[in-house]
Symmetry: C2
Subunit: 691 residues, 2 copies
Amino acid sequence: MESRRGNPMAAEGEFSELAATRRIQRLSSHISPAVATPSAPLLQTEACVSRPKKLEVNGEALSLYLRGKHIDIQEKVYKFYNSRPDLLTPIEISMDDHRELCMRQLYALVREAGVRPFLYVADDPEKYFAIMEAVGSVDMSFGIKMGVQYSLWGGSVINLGTKKHKDKYFEGIDNLDYTGCFAMTELHHGSNVQGLQTTATFDPIKDEFVIDTPNDGAIKWWIGNAAVHGKFATVFARLILPTHDSKGVSDMGVHAFIVPIRDLKTHQTLPGVEIQDCGHKVGLNGVDNGALRFRSVRIPRDNLLNRFGDVSRDGKYTSSLPTINKRFAATLGELVGGRVGLAYASVGVLKVSATIAIRYALLRQQFGPLKQPEVSILDYQSHQHKLMPMLASTYAYHFATVHLIKKYSEMKKTHDEQLIADVHALSAGLKSYVTSYTNKALSVCREACGGHGYAAVNRFGSLRNDHDIFQTFEGDNTVLLQQVAGDLLKQYKEKFQGGTLTVTWNYLRESMGSYLAQPNPVTARWEGEDHLRNPKFQLDAFRYRTSRLLHSVAMRLNKHSKTLGSFGAWNRCLNHLLTLAESHIESVILAKFIEAVKNCPDPSARAALKLMCDLYALDRIWKDIGTYRNVDYVAPNKAKAIHKLTEYLSFQVRNVAKELVDAFDLPDEVTRAPIAMQADAYAQYTQVVGF
Amino acid sequence: MESRRGNPMAAEGEFSELAATRRIQRLSSHISPAVATPSAPLLQTEACVSRPKKLEVNGEALSLYLRGKHIDIQEKVYKFYNSRPDLLTPIEISMDDHRELCMRQLYALVREAGVRPFLYVADDPEKYFAIMEAVGSVDMSFGIKMGVQYSLWGGSVINLGTKKHKDKYFEGIDNLDYTGCFAMTELHHGSNVQGLQTTATFDPIKDEFVIDTPNDGAIKWWIGNAAVHGKFATVFARLILPTHDSKGVSDMGVHAFIVPIRDLKTHQTLPGVEIQDCGHKVGLNGVDNGALRFRSVRIPRDNLLNRFGDVSRDGKYTSSLPTINKRFAATLGELVGGRVGLAYASVGVLKVSATIAIRYALLRQQFGPLKQPEVSILDYQSHQHKLMPMLASTYAYHFATVHLIKKYSEMKKTHDEQLIADVHALSAGLKSYVTSYTNKALSVCREACGGHGYAAVNRFGSLRNDHDIFQTFEGDNTVLLQQVAGDLLKQYKEKFQGGTLTVTWNYLRESMGSYLAQPNPVTARWEGEDHLRNPKFQLDAFRYRTSRLLHSVAMRLNKHSKTLGSFGAWNRCLNHLLTLAESHIESVILAKFIEAVKNCPDPSARAALKLMCDLYALDRIWKDIGTYRNVDYVAPNKAKAIHKLTEYLSFQVRNVAKELVDAFDLPDEVTRAPIAMQADAYAQYTQVVGF
């Protein structure tokens, strides 16, 4: 039972050894259950003089604050596809047709709508991600197909290559003459990229590299755009150079090479390249993933993407970076944009999903008090519990990922080293944290919409199936969280050696000492609403947890590595490390949310954001209450007060839930689910099935 | 962050105010991280003299103990369909073709394989559910299609009708000449069955009922078998009788009627019946769900399923049951078999899913210690954390649902009233609890298999999509849990009035008093392994929680109902009530698991079961540690010991994980995922894509 809805302590005033204070009793009397008339929720059967009945939300101001500066290009995309029913994906479509349709959707974007995403990949990532979000809302397969072409294939050429590559390939990639793939993953190696086995052996006589798949485990697998449409592939392979010593060759580690896989004119598979179709997937079936085997495929020496390492005519290796590991890190570092994009796109999916589930929950009525009309299901405490913290989280992740994109854009401009490290860890953490959350939320939303949530037209099936792999591609979530933990530990060590910390975890530098002190037994009992809703209390609680986790895991690793070695010690502490990484990411998300509340210019929008920020913070503290109780950071009476306040805030958010989802500004053409239409939802739904 | 992997307190010996005892330190030194060679896990780098290195599991004995007495008929089903590739569902199939295929699968079962499920619906439910499990493993749509025909349509006729109905319909239902539907749900009413609006008005002149859909909200929706194949429908409608008073009519509440919807010979839709297709669903697209509207459809008086209420020739109503509510309860009570079947089938899905994920985790290697071979991903603590408590839960739910089926069979024989109430609550609780768990587990398994888990051939997509609706149909999970809570409260009140309790919650009768005493501060600190693995400690902890939740919610309801009325009070306590219901179901599951361990005749199988039972129990206590800490049922040192032991037991289970999934006895033809084949999995996988 993982539910954190209620626990005996928090729920039972009657049993508590520590009597609840009057203040909490007064508060609890305000948490009246929701009994609503059909059209408008009329709550608060016990009047509450000191509180406004319902927050007034200036939806327009809130929406303006949320939406970025790239509304225009998104509207352009929406408008274009809405005017082209031939380009919209039907509910039922075969895999082959879906792949062709996605390719046509992409051609139309570039060649008809005149949107040129490749122009922005390097120079205006914010705009690029805005296009990707809009395109993904037409069909997520289309969004991923576009990402494969421009961010993965195109991005690898311009980020890992040099001027000669840009000169030769930019235009073809941009105008889709040069469709391409990103061939990194192999059948046996996904996360462990340094374990890849494909080889690129330099032949000094012919001045060529020879690409080989040494065994079945090294077959390139899951390569998007490979099964049908790709003409080129960026192939990651071990660079093998001939040497004059007894071994005869030297393995220089994983490098990236441009390998033509199909003829530019005939589209025939080129000699030595074997392509198979990876077939049906759980979702994203509009993307043609293929498997590639190479048998002595020859490419010119120029096809090495040589930004971080090059081979001269006579087979000498040169690099500005001293070690294989540094070159490898630099290479992968350039690919971080994919993670940034996924974290952001995942929030987009969460917005659509939460909007559908909440609009339906407002519409749907079931049961009610004796001889009174049925009530909206969002008036049930259990339904508020399912959806209101989710809505608050959606806002939280929105601000966090917008922040990440800004940092990333800055990084692409300045190439500042600290910023690079920071964006690397932050994108790994947010991608992992947000996609895991959205994946669970999609199931919660489907279930919250009952049987009608199971109708394909109402979207949860395809959203979940398409989004599912966000947890795995561009870095397995469990692996990425370990990178976050590793980075924190590195910072931790540097701190104790007097070094500086990168920006995301300034809080650790500033106040690690104070967080590690014993919890204050007086504040541990404070339970007033003002205190619990104070951002300082909330942020302190999040950071306290992170600091303790970091300090303790550092000591455990130190202890265990003496007997188990570093790999063994890491594995012994793995659960602890993952919890640390999540705790850190939550601290960052909360800090960004608090900042976003503070910076919101409109007072009514700011009040709505503050309400959700409080719900987000307290819900998370409550979900982890065991941790806080164990170290007496929170006394039993305070735990109870946090729980009650969380229920109350959920109820408060419910009262403005319509305005809050409206502020996402998702038109009916984007949500598309009949049960979530903004007018006559039931009628539109019955019409869909033919009545 | 809902993760319960580790928390600062449990993880950091260094910070704890309460120093961990030597015993725990000794224990923790045994929890060595898993560093394995490729083929066999070699663990325990620090030797542990007192423990066996690896449990020896007698797989055959364990399997024999698990599998029921209906292996034969299941094997017959497997064998029949494996010999008939024309009857196997391909990965890609259009909805229309899928529906036709499912109908053919069902015809073949009855007319070619000679399996006759309808014979067992009433008389041998265990056998019926065994057939359903086997059929569902061929294609879940087929399983549900069969359930609609025999359990819902057939079941309603034999359970709600009388001899005349059985005489007239039994054979046709059995041999599939009379295909039928179960038309309960309406567009606007799912959970609230008493709110249905379809009417059946008696016309005394023609001795007929007239079936009408009064408005769009009353259109029968999601009716399985209606869109294409059904000839009849059991329609739930308000029985309206003419009266001689001023109102002219009397609403007798919801009753069930047999309504022919298509011509037996021509299959044309009958006059007055309008049928639309509900279209594509998230899953189960082999089942043809339709929507039905009735316009003055006339049926003979005999078509009222009159077991609990009848109408005479002159329009007089008679019933053995005194009130509308009692008749409604009796009617719905007869439909409980569907829930029993779903709970059991959900465990079947969980077994397949866990088997695939665990077999793949044993196969897959990624990363490893420096200059050593890569390790199996199941050797990672994080992966053990994902899958080992899940494996233990699968065993737990297996025994619990087998118990439920036994009770249900007994109930069908004895019609004992207490047993009926008990089976009603237990089936509601287990169906809800198990299907929610399986739904989450399917996503965890997909993610645990990384990219290869996203290949459609590896099953997680279709399993999740098909299973998803198990949470909703046959009773929305959130609604069903409330029925459990309601039943507990009823029992609670009766107890205090000196009445008897039904069998499932004997524990409440026997020991509620002792559970409600203040926790013992001495035992709250006991942290020895013998104590933590003692079933008495585990069961006491589960039951203590349930008893407190029950007692406290009863008091809260009592308090709030004075100001809010009963509906308002219930809603105010709703989260609390749902937590109570889940806690109770967990108590029942654990009790049954402990019993199953005790009764296992083979000592080695028993030891394996005991290991998993301990993991199940301690993992659940750890997941809810905040609750136990809040009331000081568990002191900080004990919380820490529980967490460490959970990690250690997960590691122990990992060492026999292969044997434990093998004991489910699922042949490769049932699991079907190439990545989980018992030999040459990678080779079979590459072959599937064409290499």
